[in-house]
């Protein structure tokens, strides 16, 4: 799998490069800013980009803007955005085009190497990786009233769906069978009045759209 990394702090750029290489990925470019990212994706056509939100020159949201521009130039280009804090507005912008292959994670998540690498793979495969923190913000914004109909276990499943996990992934996380997850999922969709969807990414969009409603 070929990866382009964009991170301005050398310490983290090198750390990420080493971690992804250790896990069998090929880092074809590790660059410092949005301009360089756009050049690198046009040149390398990577399978996935890992992009920091704050980049030179102004250290604001250059990473998000560069990621969106890259996806405009190469439709469907998988992008995983990393940040030291998460904002639902950025998540919304990333998800806005409705095609898959987006991720938005706190940098802290690199500590769990296995899960982080899995998230990179999922995004590269056209899936979604939303940070639990983003989902928590969405759930908090939604207010508890509409979630009362769900059982606590269904709420866990809803959050994991919003993060972009597949049924298999949710089953592993909650240590239950995939069949049990499927039952929870259809119960949730029934209660919330969402159209059933086999596609993981469409499911994420439906759930997040419901949370944002």
């Amino acid at each position: 799998m070929r990866v382009v990394i964009t991170e301005d702090l050398a310490l983290l750029r090198d750390g990420l490069t080493r971690m992804l290489q250790d896990n069998g990925m090929e880092v074809v470019a590790a660059v410092e800013d949005g301009e360089a990212l756009l050049e690198a994706v046009e040149r390398e056509r990577p399978d996935v980009c890992v992009v920091d939100v704050r980049l030179p020159p102004d250290f604001r949201d250059e990473g998000i803007r560069a990621a969106l521009e890259a996806r405009r130039r190469i439709p469907g280009l998988p992008v995983l955005v990393l940040s030291q804090y998460v904002e639902r507005i950025f998540a919304k912008e990333l998800l806005a085009d409705g095609t898959g292959g987006v991720g938005y994670l706190l940098k802290d998540r690199v500590a769990d190497v296995g899960e982080f690498v899995e998230a990179v793979r999922r995004v590269a495969d056209g899936g979604t990786a939303m940070d639990p923190e983003v989902v928590a913000q969405l759930v908090a914004g939604r207010g508890p009233a509409r979630l009362e109909e769900l059982t606590p276990r269904e709420r866990d499943v809803l959050a994991l769906m919003a993060e972009g996990r597949s049924n298999g992934g949710i089953a592993r996380e909650l240590v239950v069978t995939e069949g049990a997850v499927e039952k929870h999922v259809s119960s949730i969709f029934g209660k919330l009045g969402l159209p059933p969807s086999g596609d993981d990414h469409r499911r994420v969009l439906a759930v997040i759209a419901w949370l944002e409603e």
Binding site: L11, L12, R18, D108, V110, V113, G114
Partner: protein
């Protein structure tokens, strides 16, 4: 001498019933006229004193101007003028029940501690002479002789007239008193009664003239000695400016701290997490324990760097020594840390200081000494902290090359910090040196 001038004035000054005149009606009016009379009687001695003082002071000062004694005489004259103006503002309270609020443009920064610095004497003289109120006081002192004489004459003449006419019947009864004033002689009790009637008739006139003279005098005093609205507006504008500057400075400081955290300690902790995660992965796989140990060691080193950065950041917000030992100790420790420039630190009796003042004073010294070490090429530097009244004064001097830029980033930031506390920061740094940075911070009780 100077503190009396910097009273907090109220913006509006409507005629409001004062505490000493709460009654209404005739009694209250008569009491008011009695106070008017006292006020007018005092006007002549005050006017004579004020006028003579100004004329004598300035003629001496100007006469001896070419010898250097003229300057101190002028300064004493200005001081005396302010003192007499203060007395005059208070005299108005006889009638109105409250002092006329005065407002001088600047605090006088110089307290005669350092006669050696010509620069300082010069800027202090400028502050004294450029204050318009000084000259309004002087004008008032000169005018007072004339208005005072008129007021005094009106009060004395009118009251003597009324009182003498009214007292005629009493004298009539006193045996052996011959009421023959030359142009008028009273031979019958009827004539005496007529004169008494004239006396009664003059009462309203006397009351009106005394009241009017007093009111005119008071309004002249208000006009020249009081702080008018325009000056208050200037002050409000200046406060608004420094306040906005303070908000900007605080915001810039917060942004800097956030950036430092984001790029420093936070990023290092992410790297630590990454190293530990990778080490864990290796250990779990049972492969390559040497590499895992290396990753753990890197993580530990990164943790130490993160701690050092957090410590520096905390020091940048408020140095630990400042909280633990106070300003004197913190500044002494700063003095010992300046690279390569021997620095003497002198700390006077400071008393209790507000925390914001301590922090600002500390950063003034820290920034000044950093500049000394970086740019001044100085052989020696000195720091002095002193307090007089409710003002903390910070002086940092060096004997280096001078030419410091007062609008440089560091100094501008300091100015914002100092002005936020309504203090002043002055820099004197002529090319060739020496450099003297002085901050004055009010630490009001």
């Amino acid at each position: 001498m100077t503190t009396q001038a910097v009273q907090q004035p109220t913006l509006e000054h409507p005629e409001r019933p004062s505490a000493s005149a709460p009654r209404r009606g005739l009694g209250a009016f008569l009491a008011l006229v009695a106070r008017d009379t006292l006020y007018l009687l005092l006007a002549l001695p005050m006017g004579t004193l004020f006028f003579s003082f100004i004329v004598a002071g300035w003629s001496t000062a100007i006469g001896s101007f070419i010898t250097f004694i003229g300057v101190p005489v002028a300064v004493l004259t200005i001081w005396g003028t302010r003192g007499l103006a203060w007395v005059e503002r208070s005299r108005a309270a006889i009638v109105t029940g409250e002092r006329i609020p005065g407002l001088y443009r600047r605090r006088l920064p110089f307290r005669g501690e350092d006669w050696a610095s010509l620069n300082e004497i010069w800027s202090w003289l400028k502050a004294l002479v450029l204050d318009g109120q000084t000259w309004r006081d002087t004008a008032y002192g000169l005018v007072l002789l004339f208005t005072g004489t008129i007021g005094f004459t009106v009060a004395v003449t009118m009251w003597s007239l009324t009182l003498s006419l009214l007292s005629v019947p009493a004298w009539w009864w006193i045996p052996g008193v011959d009421l023959d004033a030359g142009f008028i002689s009273l031979d019958t009790w009827l004539e005496a009664l007529v004169v008494f009637g004239f006396g009664v008739a003059t009462i309203p006139l006397t009351l009106a003239l005394v009241r009017g003279s007093s009111a005119i005098s008071i309004s002249i005093a208000r006009g020249l000695l009081g702080c008018d609205k325009r000056r208050l507006e200037e002050r409000v504008e200046q406060l608004a400016e420094t306040r906005a500057g303070a908000v900007d400075a605080a915001q810039a400081e917060l942004e800097r701290i956030e950036r430092d955290l984001h790029d420093g300690a936070q990023a290092r902790l992410v790297a630590v997490a990454l190293d530990l995660g990778m080490a864990e992965q290796r250990l779990a796989a049972g492969a390559d324990p040497e590499r895992a140990a290396e990753l753990v060691r890197e993580a530990r080193e990164e943790t130490q760097r993160a701690l050092a950065e957090l410590r520096d950041l905390a020091r940048g917000i408020r140095p630990a020594l400042l909280s633990e030992r106070g300003l004197g100790a913190a500044v002494t420790s700063l003095g010992a840390r300046v690279g390569g420039v021997p620095t003497s630190v002198e700390v006077g009796e400071l008393g209790a200081l507000p925390s914001a003042v301590e922090t600002a004073a500390y950063f003034v010294v820290a920034e000044a000494l950093t500049n000394v070490a970086k740019h001044a090429r100085a052989g020696a530097a000195s720091v002095r902290l002193s307090r007089s009244g409710d003002v903390l004064r910070v002086d940092v001097r060096d004997d280096g090359v001078g030419g410091a830029n007062p609008d440089g980033g560091g100094l501008r930031g300091l100015r914002g910090r100092v002005e936020a506390l309504d203090g002043t920061l002055t820099l004197s740094s002529p090319p060739g040196g020496p450099t003297h940075l002085c901050a004055e911070l009010p630490c009001g009780s």
